[in-house]
Amino acid sequence: MAGIEVRPSQRLPPCLLCKDCFLFLCVKKHRPMHRSSRTLHLRDLRARMNFKNLREYLAWLYYQYLLITGIYVLEPWEKSIFNSILFSAIAMVVYTSYVFVPIHVRLALEFFLGIFGGQPESTMALMT
């Protein structure tokens, strides 16, 4: 079905962060900037999500994760399988980055410093 592209407002630049993110806190911070002065009062119409403590907020984040990945509709054992696979994949990524990223960064730095740092040294060597 053909759709119409929404034109960004000519008055305020669109927030780059908000177009991609869906985190609750980020949206709440950036939302007032999107309203012109005329429609600022509309901000108050939005229901505030009042999280009494961190546990409730984390529970809400887990709920969002369930909804976004579609796990919400599955049975509990299927949820556990998916969560364990995802968790182990993330754990492996974290472990690999912990082990290998410093080494790679160090090698890369040496390589680039070698290219740029090496030039004056070689001309000095030639002159002496």
Partner: protein, 554 residues
Amino acid sequence: MIQTLESYSCKLSLFSKKYLSNGVKCEHIGKNGYHNHKEKNGQGTGVASRRHKHEPFEQAPMYVAVLTYLGFGIVTLFGYLRDFLRAVGLEKCNIAQEREKQKDFVPLYQDFENFYTRNLYMRVRDNWNRPICSLPGPVFDLMERVSDDYNWTFRFTGKTIHDVINMGSYNYLGFAENNADFLKTVADKVRQYGVGVCSTRQEIGNLSIHEELEQLVANFLGVESAMTYGMGFATNSMNIPALVGKGCLILSDELNHTSLILGARLSGATIRVFKHNNMQSLEKMLKEAVCSGQPRTHRPWKKILIVVEGIYSMEGSVVRLPEVIALKKKYKAYLYLDEAHSIGAVGQTGRGVTELFNVNTADVDVMMGTFTKSFGASGGYIAGKKELVDYLRTHSHSAVYATAMSPPATEQIIRAMKCIMGKDGSTEGMRRIRQLAENAKYFRSRLKEMGFIIYGNDDSPVVPVLLYMPAKVVAFAREMLARKIGVVVVGFPATPITEARARFCVSAAHTRDMLNQVLDCMNEVGDLLCLKFSRRKYSPLPNLCDETDFELDS
């Protein structure tokens, strides 16, 4: 290039205007262009066509589409896993399966739609087909049911959930009611005529009450004659084959209802589909049809029938009637207008889209509608010129083979129609129409303000709210029921796979308080589930700039 709608419709009739002015110019128009012909105002299209500027189909942000596909992908993978477990025997199979002897044949139950039913729909089907135990008016009572095996079977707990606000029934004018005063005439007619007819209209099933209804429908719509049928779906599917056949061309809108598609296919005519409400696409097809004719022989088409609906029920969009009529006149085609949702629901006095756009009813060749939505009964009608209706009385399959409408349903339509027209001596009908228009506008504008993506025209009482992700669709329905609001959510087979939505049907019987309650719950649930995807800035003041968006054919 920016063009206004007025200049576009001017362009379409440019051919006729030039010809006329050319014909008159040489005789009566002076050198400086002066003439003293009386200028008359034609049928107005200027005022109503401006409504179309506010019918956008907003696209969701890219991440929403990506996450929708992700959600479907994950559930599909788990579907394959469960199918594997069922095939291996580790899990009991609860659905229909072929017998051992049939396994070598073409599979009956293994294609994608059954896969989808088994693995996605079955998991969440507690949101559909909920049993109710009262009249489906503005509020109704639900029977509470729970499932012990993840929705394969249900059992009732015995409790009833009372006064759930009904946002799913097609009860636009609120005629689905149990008021003894209003229904007195229906009770009398049941005593007089009986409950069933048991025969077709052509044999012994033609009752005087049917004739009275048809006369009333013709008066209501402002046409010469009308014919009614017992079932709305059958009106479309059985009458289109009577009107067109092989050698004819049907141009039907992308989003037409199944009954229209079925009728078109049964007729044997060639069907071409144009993009939804896209007049350039329709004009291109008409031009091509008139120029090239039938596919291989290049003979001219016997008939070209344009099939559109008044209000499309899944999008809430309204057809661009003045433009379709201009095209139809230019290319000499016929127009079939299905006003299932718009009759009684739009227009100043409830006469449908012809009144909304201030269009002459003689311009629409076949006006079809149903009594199911705004009149609280069942059945359909076809109205138009007397020759057309007389032809259909003898040649339509419904008229010849289907049972006639039952007397209580007929009387319900008669009393509802008299109420709308004001013939019962009260202003109840006008009050309801105005209440519906007000409710629809209010509901739509509040939802847009909140930041939901809504499709459709500002006047239509059908409000689809886009939810996109499959899990959110399910969570939305459950959360709304927990807040005692019954909504209809629609997913894959009825809508494109990435555009799942919740469809609200506003009714004249809803009070402002009920709507406010629904809106507050929508606000809460929208924030809880993060459903406010709209990136448009909505202001309550009307738009002053004159620009239009115009989808060019790609």
